[in-house]
Each structure stands twice: as structure tokens, then as C-alpha cells.
């Protein structure tokens, strides 16, 4: 079910919310949680019910495995059990996400002709596998003792964050489900959540989906783009991806807040970053935190000398790249970011200072070049777009074929402008119960309704990961 769908907004969300708070109001705490869990699983199953089996099995096994792990005293047994748990989760992810990729490359490398069917990727598998990695790792460290089964299931399946994050950590979320003060309907949280949700909704359906028209037109004909169109296409996708994914995150945060659950911020105006390190502190923050905590630091972080630090950075971003998808394009994208961070780190040693505006421009350009690999369906397509962007080969310098619909121009201009304004989490901090914000909310509601009632909406991009 999509956040921007009629069934979600008109039925699922109001019904889930009303019954949840009614049950809590009359003291039925546990049934309230069961209801929320059931609704979350229904939300997940809406796409393909068969995968409900996968997420439920994985949830139950991981919970009990994690709890057992907390209490194993023999260090060797504990480590073997821990690695087994990790491998178990990894093998599920490998099977669903990487089997086709591995077989294709195996065939290519050894000129074999192994044919297997295309394996359908269960929705959100990358996200919930990450959460379980964290839970198992913390259980190995003895940090999850006594976790309640129902709270654990809710932490995994809580629908606002289930499909595409923010990637939540059990230590941030599970205590909130136990907090008595969060069980009653809270008008202030509800309104603030609704405000954030509406901002995210507009980002997605009005802005991201409009930029998608341009980006899709360009990448649909990646090998024949003119110089101008290659730039328009790549920038359109960079903007689309930001508004799409951050819009989804805002909706998730807003929906969470309706239930009095605070989800972590995932984006902080990333295109205002003045260097690549700064970018990763602002872009997909929860993924960055997980990669740092569960990949970079266990590898040794920056504690084992400069050379290993650079190596760790590179490995972390290669993992981040392949996490996004089973394709060489994602690996190259991860490599580009790892390499960029290595260069940034080395640059810092030179003590040469560049102005923020120059830093911002370099970062934007570099990130934009890297997004070409992220979006293109093949390395060949990505290289074709990049060649056009830098004017290599037989590039034409004619006008645009991707900017044909003049009616979307105002939204495109507005979108570029909004990139550098305050973001929804910042706006939410300024939210007050006054006429000004009432008018904002009414405006957002009306615009949202008009766009929802139009036929432009696309799926969220991060559902593919």
C-alpha cells in the first residue's frame, strides 16, 4: 500500500489510528499493540501476501535467536551462534536480491548458460534485514535482554517505517512502545505529524513525480541525449530522488507521530552540503548511521592508521552501493562515493580551505555525476549519459527533447527553489497553532488532494531497494 494512495489515506490510516487509540483509551494496551501489528502486516501484505510468510518467519526466528544470544555464556558458542544468525539473515537477502545478479555474472565470466527464473524481490527486505542485523549484533553484545516479543514485532513491522525506512534502531523505537504516556491520542503530536505528512506528500506527488517525467524521458533514451538534455536529465533525477525519498521519509515520520512514535530524521537538506562527508551526514542519515555502526566501526573505523581508514571507508561504501541493488551500476555508485570520501579525507590533510559556495558546487556536481550510475539501467547507459554531459563523442548541442511539457515548468522551477529552503523537520520545529499554520495546512491539503486525484503518481523509488 502506498502512502499516497486513496486506500491508505481514506481507509487504512484513519481506521488503524481510531481503533488503536480507542483500544488504548479503554485500557486494552496489548490488544492495541496487536491491532497495530496486524494492521502493519496487512499494510505489508497488500503488495504480495505471500511475502508475509517471509517477514513473519524472519521476525519470530530473529527474536528468539536474539534473546538466546543474550544468554549464551560460552564465548565460542556465542560467536558461532551469532555468525550463524547473521549468515541466516544474509542468505535470505542473498537469495532474493543477488541470486540473479550472481548467476548472470557467473554466466558472463565463465561463458556458461545457466538459466534461472527472475526472483521477485520481497518489499523492504533490505531494510528489515538491516534492522535484524543490528538487533542480532546488539544481542551478541548482550544489549537486548528481556525484550518483549510483541514490542519487537512492532519495532520490525510498524508500518510507517516498514517499507523504506527511516531505518530504525531497536533501542530508539522499542522503549517508545512501552512508554505509557504515548498510548493516548495527543492532539499536538497528531497535528504536527499531519503537517509533516502533508509536506512529505506534496514533495512526493507534486514535485518528485513531476521531475520524474523529465528524468524518465531522458533515461528512457539514454544513448541519444544531447549535451543539454543529458544535464537536464541527470539534474532532474537528482532532484526527483531527493524529493521522492525524503518525501517518503517525511510521510513516515509524520505517520509515526500520529501514533506518538518519533522516528529519526532521514534527510537534512543534503544538496546544501559543502563536501561529500557533509552530504552523507545529511542524505539517508539512518543508512549512514547503520553503515558506520555496523560496517565501518567493526572494520576498525579510523583507529588503525590512515591507510586502513581509507580502506574501511571504501569497503563501507561498496557495501552501501550493493545494498541498494544487485547491479554493477550500484557498485560503481558506491565506489564513487567511497572514492570521493577518500579524496576528501586526503584533501583535508592539505589544510587548503575552499569557500563554502565552491565546496557546495563541487559536491553537487560530483553527487550528480554519481547519481547517473544510480539511475541508469546499465553501465553502458550511464556512460552514454556521462559522455554527453562532458561533451565526449558525437554529442549534439541542439535544444531539449526531454522538456516538452511546458505545463510542468512552474513545478520544476519551484522544486529547484525548494531544495535550498527549510526542510520539513525544520519547518515542523516552527509549527505553531496559529492562523498562519492553519492556512499552510489547508493549502497543503488542497494541493495534495488535487494531485492525489490526478493520474501522475508513481511508486516510491526506494521501494525498489
Amino acid at each position: 500500500m502506498l502512502f499516497n494512495s486513496f486506500e491508505f489515506l481514506a481507509f487504512f490510516l484513519p481506521i488503524t489510528l481510531t481503533v488503536y487509540f480507542l483500544l488504548n483509551k479503554y485500557g486494552f494496551d496489548k490488544p492495541g499493540k496487536v491491532w497495530l501489528l496486524a494492521c502493519s502486516l496487512f499494510f505489508y501484505a497488500w503488495w504480495k501476501p505471500i511475502f508475509l510468510l517471509l517477514i513473519c518467519t524472519s521476525m519470530v526466528i530473529n527474536y528468539f535467536a536474539g534473546q538466546k544470544l543474550n544468554y549464551i555464556e560460552n564465548p565460542k558458542t556465542r560467536k558461532i551462534f551469532y555468525i550463524t544468525c547473521l549468515l541466516g539473515n544474509l542468505s535470505v537477502l542473498l537469495y532474493y536480491k543477488y541470486t540473479n545478479f550472481i548467476v548472470d555474472n557467473f554466466n558472463l565470466l565463465l561463458t556458461e548458460d545457466i538459466v534461472i527464473d527472475k526472483i521477485a524481490l520481497p518489499l523492504a527486505i533490505s531494510f528489515f534485514t538491516f534492522q535484524k542485523f543490528a538487533y542480532i549484533t546488539d544481542s551478541y553484545k548482550g544489549k537486548t535482554k528481556g525484550y518483549d516479543f510483541l514490542n519487537f514485532c512492532l519495532f520490525v513491522a510498524f508500518f510507517p517505517q516498514l517499507i523504506a525506512g527511516p531505518i530504525v534502531h531497536h533501542k530508539d523505537i522499542m522503549p517508545q512502545f512501552q512508554d505509557e504516556s504515548k498510548k493516548q491520542f495527543n492532539t499536538e503530536n497528531f497535528l504536527k505529524g499531519l503537517y509533516i505528512f502533508l509536506l512529505g506528500l506534496i514533495k512526493k506527488i507534486a514535485i518528485a513525480d513531476t521531475f520524474a517525467i523529465v528524468a524518465n524521458a531522458g533515461y528512457g533514451d539514454a544513448t541519444h541525449l544531447s549535451f543539454v538534455d543529458s544535464w537536464i536529465t541527470s539534474i532532474a533525477y537528482a532532484v526527483q530522488l531527493y524529493f521522492d525519498f525524503s518525501g517518503y521519509s517525511d510521510m513516515a515520520i509524520g505517520a509515526g507521530l500520529l501514533f506518538n512514535i518519533t522516528l529519526p530524521i532521514n534527510f537534512n537538506s543534503p544538496y546544501k552540503a559543502t563536501n561529500l562527508q557533509d552530504f552523507w551526514r545529511r542524505w539517508h542519515i539512518t543508512l549512514g548511521n547503520f553503515l558506520r555502526e555496523y560496517i565501518y566501526i567493526p572494520l576498525g573505523g579510523n583507529r588503525k592508521g590512515e591507510l586502513l581508514t581509507l580502506n574501511n571507508l571504501m569497503v563501507t561504501f561498496l557495501v552501501g552501493g550493493i545494498w541498494h541493488g544487485a547491479n554493477w551500476t550500484f557498485l560503481i555508485w558506491g565506489f564513487m562515493h567511497g572514492f570521493g570520501l577518500v579524496v576528501h579525507r586526503l584533501w583535508q590533510k592539505t589544510k587548503i580551505v575552499i569557500s563554502d559556495s565552491v565546496g557546495l558546487l563541487i559536491t553537487l556536481l560530483y553527487v550528480n555525476f554519481a547519481w547517473v550510475f544510480f539511475r541508469a539501467t546499465s553501465v553502458g547507459d550511464a556512460l552514454a549519459v556521462l559522455k554527453s554531459m562532458v561533451g565526449i563523442g558525437s554529442v549534439s548541442y541542439t535544444g531539449s527533447k526531454v522538456l516538452t511539457d511546458i505545463y510542468i515548468y512552474p513545478t520544476l522551477v519551484a522544486g529547484m527553489f525548494f531544495l535550498f529552503l527549510k526542510n520539513p523537520p525544520q519547518l515542523a520545529k516552527e509549527f505553531r497553532f496559529n492562523t498562519q499554520h492553519l492556512l499552510y495546512m489547508l493549502g497543503l491539503t488542497l494541493i495534495g488532494l488535487i494531485y492525489l486525484n490526478s493520474i501522475t503518481s508513481n511508486d516510491f523509488l526506494y521501494f525498489d531497494f
Partner: protein
């Protein structure tokens, strides 16, 4: 104000605004969906507009309709005075897309005849080419981006703001799309001769699914006692001669779908050579000029007069 008052005011004002927005759009009813008979025109997005008009406007106001791609979209049915005909042709549409309109029209109306432009474009592929023809657009008529765009173009066209790009009288109330007004600097002679020099002519292959869909359309029409009149659209003589065997194969295959109760006219027969060999019949390598339109409509009018000699009375007009 406190949070509870804020929430209450927000809910009330939202309900008021949404009702107001839907109410105004319902009252304006630019596609003739809600308030019955009124003259309605396309202002932009021919696909969605004509699809929405197929719900009420076309079935309630007309006794016949023309169906086809751009080759028939610029036929002005007003020229055939005795019959109320709507031109439901859509630029760039194939039979799959046109079927959505046919379904609505035959289900809701009391049509006497359907004129089908049998150009290869109609059957060269199948399936929806865009998301513009969808049932969701029905509710979009109460408030959507497409509706706002339609209002904008209503304003632009009616106030003659950019006539070169948005001609005020591009469409009329009977579905005529006079796209020649917005198609500038096309020289039919040069266009046809260039094609002929390159030995290019229209692709005449028939998509098997589209072929079946056309057959289903014909069956549907006959089932509702709607007289089927098919015509092979005139092709510039030079191009027709160039691809004669392909064109004739197309005509034979399509003719096989028509039965004795239908009318089938081939405007590429030698008797029409004077017309099809005249560059002035076309505006480019195939679309009809005013002269070409007049020719096709005259043939159709003659046929209709034979089929329906007396003018049909309209209870509601």
C-alpha cells in the same frame, strides 16, 4: 488558539473547501459529465477530454460518431448537416484506446451509426499509450491537475492570448480537431515527394491483438444495431502506388472483418485518383486539408443519406 481548536477549525475548513472545490467543478462541468446536455469542447488533452465526454456528452447529444486516429480527427462533422455526428477520433490513438470511448458511447447512448477511419495507424499496435484514458479521470473532473490545465487553456483559447500556439477555435463542439491551425509551415507537395523519393510509406502491418480488438468493436456495434461504416482513408496517390501491394494486403485483411450488413468504402480506388493525386488534398504526407476533408465528408454524407434517408428526430432537441 490551542491545539484542539486548531484541529477542529482545520477539519471544518477542509471539509468546506473540498466541498466548495468539488461543487464549483461540478457546476462548471467542463466535460459534460454531471449536468446533462450542454455544448462542450476540447481545450487540451484530447484523449482525456473525449474519453470523459464519452460518458454523457456524446451519447446524450449525438446519433452517430466518427472513430479513428489523427487521419479522421480533423473531419468536421458539422459539414454533414442532416445528422448530429460527434468526431470521437483522437490524435495518435489506436483501436485499444478508442475502445474505451466506444464502450461508454454504446452502453449509454442510442447511436444509429459509427464511422470508422480504417488507417493502418489504427491497428499497428495495441494497448494504452498513456495513462490519460482511465476511469480515475472521472473523479479528476471534480479537481485534478488535468482539470486545472483545461481551465487554463479554456482561458487562453477563449481570450485569444496565444493564437499561433493555442488557436481559439482549434476544436468545436462536435469533436472537430482542426489541428492545421497549430501545425505551421507544412508543405504537402514537398512532404509527399520527399517520402516518395526515399521510397517511404506508412507501415501497414496489422498487430494481431489490435486486429482482434477491431473485430470485437465491430461485433459490439452490430450487437447494438449500430450501422458500421468503415472507410479506408485517402493516401497520397504517389505513396499508395509505391506501397500498393502492402496497402492492398492491409485493405483485404481489414475488409475480412466487415460483413454484408456493414458499409465499406475505399477512398483509394482509382475512381478517386483525381483527388488523391492532388497535393492540395493533404496538408502533409497523409493528413487531410480542408479540400480533403470536404471530399471525405461528402462521400460519407452521400452514404448516410442512402442509409438514413429521413432525418432522425431527437426527442430531446
Amino acid at each position: 488558539m490551542n491545539s484542539k481548536k486548531f484541529l477542529f477549525t482545520y477539519v471544518i475548513l477542509t471539509l468546506v473547501l473540498v466541498t466548495l472545490m468539488a461543487g464549483i467543478n461540478y457546476f462548471i462541468d467542463i466535460y459534460g459529465l454531471f449536468r446533462g446536455k450542454k455544448d462542450r469542447k476540447v481545450y487540451i488533452n484530447e484523449r482525456t477530454s473525449k474519453y470523459l465526454m464519452s460518458y454523457r456528452y456524446i451519447p446524450e447529444n449525438f446519433e452517430g460518431f466518427i472513430l479513428g486516429p489523427s487521419l479522421s480527427a480533423n473531419l468536421n462533422p458539422e459539414q454533414i448537416k442532416e445528422y448530429r455526428i460527434y468526431n470521437a477520433s483522437i490524435m495518435g490513438a489506436n483501436i485499444s484506446e478508442l475502445n474505451y470511448l466506444v464502450d461508454n458511447i454504446v452502453e449509454r447512448g442510442n447511436m444509429k451509426f459509427a464511422i470508422i477511419c480504417l488507417d493502418p495507424y489504427l491497428t499497428k499496435d495495441h494497448g494504452r499509450k498513456s495513462a490519460n484514458i482511465t476511469t480515475e479521470e472521472y473523479f479528476g473532473a471534480l479537481g485534478s491537475t488535468n482539470l486545472l490545465k483545461t481551465y487554463l487553456l479554456y482561458f487562453v483559447r477563449n481570450n485569444n492570448i496565444a493564437p499561433h500556439r493555442y488557436a481559439p477555435d482549434l476544436h468545436n463542439t462536435v469533436g472537430w480537431n482542426n489541428f492545421e491551425k497549430e501545425t505551421h509551415n507544412i508543405d504537402s507537395k514537398r512532404s509527399i515527394e520527399e517520402k516518395a523519393a526515399k521510397r517511404q510509406y506508412e507501415k501497414t502491418e496489422i498487430d494481431p491483438v489490435a486486429y482482434k480488438e477491431l473485430n470485437t468493436t465491430l461485433i459490439k456495434l452490430r450487437h447494438k444495431n449500430i450501422k458500421v461504416i468503415g472507410y479506408f482513408s485517402p493516401v497520397p496517390y504517389k505513396l499508395y502506388q509505391l506501397g500498393k501491394s502492402d496497402y492492398q494486403k492491409f485493405e483485404n485483411d481489414i475488409s475480412a472483418l466487415f460483413n454484408k450488413s456493414d458499409v465499406l468504402i475505399n477512398l483509394n480506388e482509382d475512381q478517386y485518383k483525381d483527388i488523391t493525386n492532388d497535393y492540395n488534398t493533404f496538408i502533409d504526407h497523409g493528413h487531410l486539408s480542408a479540400k480533403g476533408q470536404h471530399f471525405v465528408l461528402s462521400v460519407l454524407e452521400r452514404e448516410l443519406k442512402q442509409l438514413f434517408p429521413a432525418k432522425v428526430n431527437y426527442a430531446s432537441n
